[in-house]
Symmetry: C2
Subunit: 251 residues, 2 copies
Amino acid sequence: MDLYINDMITASRTRPVLSGVRRTAPIERQSLADAVAERLREQILNGDLHEGEQLRQDAIAKQFEVSRIPVREALLLLEAEGLITTVANRGAVVSALSPEEIEELFDIRAVLECHALRLAMPNMANEDFAQAEKVLKEYELALDKNADVATWGELNWRFHSALYAPANRPALMALMKVLNNNCDRYTRLHLAITRNLHRAGKAHRAILNVCKTRNVEKATEELHRHITEAGQYLKEFIRKRREEHTQAAHK
Amino acid sequence: MDLYINDMITASRTRPVLSGVRRTAPIERQSLADAVAERLREQILNGDLHEGEQLRQDAIAKQFEVSRIPVREALLLLEAEGLITTVANRGAVVSALSPEEIEELFDIRAVLECHALRLAMPNMANEDFAQAEKVLKEYELALDKNADVATWGELNWRFHSALYAPANRPALMALMKVLNNNCDRYTRLHLAITRNLHRAGKAHRAILNVCKTRNVEKATEELHRHITEAGQYLKEFIRKRREEHTQAAHK
DNA sequence: ACTTTGGATATTGTATACAGTTATCCTCGA
DNA sequence: TCGAGGATAACTGTATACAATATCCAAAGT
């Protein structure tokens, strides 16, 4: 699979944050390519486009009523993010990560996010804890409401990023976000089937509690376990699922 | 700045490594976009295009005698890699990383590469040491010959990647390569001015020697210092350089 | 002098058109 | 029935043309 540095930076594509005190928000203008990419990304993360599915330039262009040029550019963006894979003259398919790649991605995430947490913890103020707490409450509320997996993915990242925000490392944060997108797709897939959403909620609360004690070692250990356990679980989950599918294909 | 996941994967764009034993190499066919991107990337890494320099689509298209479409797609790739930055309707410029971003990048590199080394060391065989040794010799030879900085950058990465290869982590490797590209540009800039190329050579030899003792802790410590020291040095170097330039602009 | 406004020019963004490549399917022969 | 070969269709890759947007400069107003 592929990961691009600029996806890290291309987090920047998601619009610079409003700076200064201008009263009237600048009119949000997106290039068509960005808009198309956003829609497709959502569809992929939601699983509306399942892995391995072909992405026809023409079809997408018609669907969104644009020409193929912005579609092509959108596909390049998504490829840089690792969400799709293209073969010359044969078009793009939604990336299907091998179990090994999934494990690798979660492993990278664990390393980077623990590093981020380590940097963040000395800077954590009460308001940071409050922020994380707030997101966690939202998450639990969403659970009760049986919200969709998209909401879950969003809140999951918001919780994690809230922990890392005090580190004040924009590039690192952007990189972690891209990696998260690639992992979340599988997590969501898993959750959509097993529906055991409470597990992550409990793990998150545990992590937050350790952070509050300001014990860096224990906190990073907890976080590391949270991420790698998810990785191992998903690796196995996907491996079995693929096995079944190939068997089904062979009979 | 921006880093894209797919750049990690897009390392894949730099052609999948020959797998298997096919005798006749597959005919190399690159899309124009890939070819343009490759040329531009080289120019940026070499410093032929200095940071902040505008990249006009028309000019590039004329230079390579292609239309603007493949140029645009090449620019998207480079943006994903973090080498350029684009603003809507105003085109692209060669990314100028702030001293803080440089520090951040080197820091991320240190974390990931130490992790990779940690994974690699248990798998290191004599042939791996020999391979690293060989690259190191080439490096030292290039020093004597007063080779250009491009050669230096190439050999630098080849040495580092030789150390991490036994870890057998393709995604991690690809990500590290993209990060390296973003850092190397500044390292080369620095070397092109100060010409003290021997320092890195000595550091590399020291790292390799520790690896041979199979002491994981010491090896990662050595590597970590090697990378973060370079980062600190360059951060200061770029900071001072920028200061001078802004002063020059004000008088 | 300084600011503002209008428009000419340059540049990017998108659509349409065409060329090249790959996949599909049909026919023909064994 | 099966496989080889080739025409056809489908799709991607690139070029050209046009539209939208930004930049620059000069002229008018304060």
